[in-house]
């Protein structure tokens, strides 16, 4: 393929489509007259187009479309003609399909934010449910100040459990 052919090839389609600018048009037509290879390329594209049209026309030509308008009006009358909001499930599925990465990242950030907020707002008393539960079983509970930390020592028979809360340390 020589240089002129290389420059011609991308122009042949637009040429057949009637989309070539005038300055390219004259240049390409000159080349086509002199170049059997590019003429063959043009003919192949043209033949492709004809074949596509004929195939589609043959396929569509036999279809019975006589009831389409009635069917359309029947649906319009049944469903109303106002725009409807698509069902939430459809909207959600489409959004997930289109923005999967962004939604995943947003969910991760939101989860991290929730965890951080929960830690920030968590009451200083550690494990209140466990402590209440232990108290109900007769364990002794002592609140201890560990200087930088607050904590609780729970004695239940021979078992000693120390709860340390680093909330105070974080705040310092």
């Amino acid at each position: 393929m020589n240089r002129r052919c290389e420059e011609s090839v991308p122009l042949i389609g637009p040429y057949l489509d009637g989309e070539l600018h005038e300055e390219d048009l004259a240049w390409l037509e000159d080349h086509l007259v002199a170049c059997p290879a590019c003429t063959a390329r043009r003919e192949l594209i043209r033949a492709q187009g004809n074949a596509i049209r004929e195939r589609a026309a043959a396929r569509a030509g036999t279809a019975d479309l006589s009831g389409v308008a009635d069917a359309v009006f029947a649906r319009i009358d049944r469903e109303g003609s106002q725009p409807k909001t698509p069902p939430l499930t459809v909207w959600g599925a489409e959004m997930w399909g289109a923005h999967r990465a962004a939604l995943s990242a947003s969910a991760g950030v939101a989860l991290a934010g929730c965890l951080a907020l929960a830690l920030f707002l968590m009451p200083a008393r550690p494990a209140p449910v466990a402590i209440a539960s232990a108290q109900s079983l007769g364990a002794s509970i002592d609140e201890i100040d560990f200087e930088n930390h607050e904590g609780v020592v729970m004695q239940n028979g021979a078992t000693t459990t120390i709860w340390v809360d680093d909330h105070a340390a974080v705040q310092q």
């Binding site: 059997p36 290879a37 063959a40 195939r55």
Partner: protein, 221 residues
Amino acid sequence: MNESRKTPAAAQKSDAADDKPLVRAAQRGDRAAFRALVTKYQRRVYQLAVSMLKDPDEAMDIVQETFVRVHRYLPSFKGDSSFFTWTYRIATNLCLDVSRKKGRVERVDIDETDADIEAHMDPPSAAFAGPQRAALNEELKEKMDEALASLSEKHRSVLLLRELDGLSYEELAKVLGIRKGTVMSRLFHARLKMQRKLREYLGEEAKDEEPDVPEGEEERR
């Protein structure tokens, strides 16, 4: 009313002008006018849908759904594009939705890198321009479905829209929601791939190298 068949670009302009009174009447609620529009364009929409989906039943559903949506959104149609282009856009999107739901859409064309675009647009046999052309055209038609099916959805849709109804690049850009340069690029690659497939069927071997025209090279001309 007669249905509209394949329409050359020049005839489309007169179609668009003819449509305006019908569209305005339909917007006012004139059912006869809307019926006339449906009757006029239903076969072209069907032709597009059946070519894209290869399933007559699905194509029929697409035709109905297209015109139901056209009717639904007709009050908001301002006539910036032709009625037909607007209708085609709805139909095309519905076809793509159906393809997507069936997993037919190839999100990535793994075979369209520059390195792979080689030796597939070398001169086809001289028969394409010679006396055997008619016979080859018959053979091409038989293989056309297979070659079209081998294209990605984005390439098939742009090629069908162009070849079936002769939409201009500007109209294709509107229908597909892409830039005009992207239309040119996709058409080039779609035709290239079609040729590659058809040449395989015809048993031709590539002879020389294809110029580099990377997909995405836009707006050069």
